[in-house]
């Protein structure tokens, strides 16, 4: 089964991104495919590269980067939601004269068209984070 996942909440705002992460790991464990994880609304903050939680807490951003690297998961941050909240990719950061990218490794910033595409290619669609 192919899953398209949307995440709407920031790491500590609700448990949504945590449940999504566990769901995705379980789906992969059971041989399913994750077409794309699309971060929208406050969910874009899951890709904020500067997050540095204490060592004894769950790595709320790094775990996504690890997931992307280990399983080739496509993590997409919505560009309009990201721009509203000041989260920029390297290209955008350079374009607007900022010092560095805000984006964590493994994420990319793109438009809502990729959300539509994911829904069309997937068999199942779930939203986490309300």
């Amino acid at each position: 089964m192919k899953f398209a996942i949307q995440i709407n909440s920031a790491p500590y705002q609700t448990q949504g991104s945590d449940t999504a992460f566990q769901f995705i790991r379980a789906a992969l464990r059971n041989g399913h495919e994750i077409v794309r994880v699309f971060f929208y609304h406050e969910g874009v903050y899951n890709g904020l590269g500067y997050a540095m939680p204490p060592d004894d807490e769950r790595p709320v951003v790094k775990r996504w980067s690890d997931l992307a690297r280990e399983h080739g998961i496509d993590l997409v941050i919505c560009i309009s939601a990201a721009q509203r909240r000041g989260l920029l990719s390297r290209e955008e950061a350079v374009r607007v004269g900022k010092a560095d990218t805000d984006l964590a490794e493994g994420f990319r910033i793109a438009g809502l068209g990729l959300w539509v595409e994911a829904c069309l290619n997937a068999d199942r669609f779930l939203i986490f984070g309300g």
Binding site: H41, G113, V116, L120, F125, I127
Partner: protein
Amino acid sequence: MPVRKSFLFILRRPPHGGIHAQEALDIILTTAAFDQTVRLLFIDDGVFQLQRDQRPETIDFKHIAPIFGALELYDIEELWVEEESLRERGIKVERLIMPVRLVARCDLAALMEVQDVVVSC
């Protein structure tokens, strides 16, 4: 994009408590622009999004209600509103910004089950 699916967007939130309603519209319009079949269903506090006489400029918010009136341009023709949600909130149909299709709560499941993708906004 050869695949065409039918999407039902369920709008449950009021218009101006945050950015959700506005960003939901962005997804809705994008989906329609990709030539998909799009229907909207307003339930619970979502019916407030269609209320006439909104003046969001008083709190420096964007006016999004008029966008619903322009959805026909995107071939989005089915805007469903749950009757009970209106009644429970004391809203008469005449207070909405445009004509809508009314659906009874007991008929919602039937409306939802014929969709390919249901998106809770």
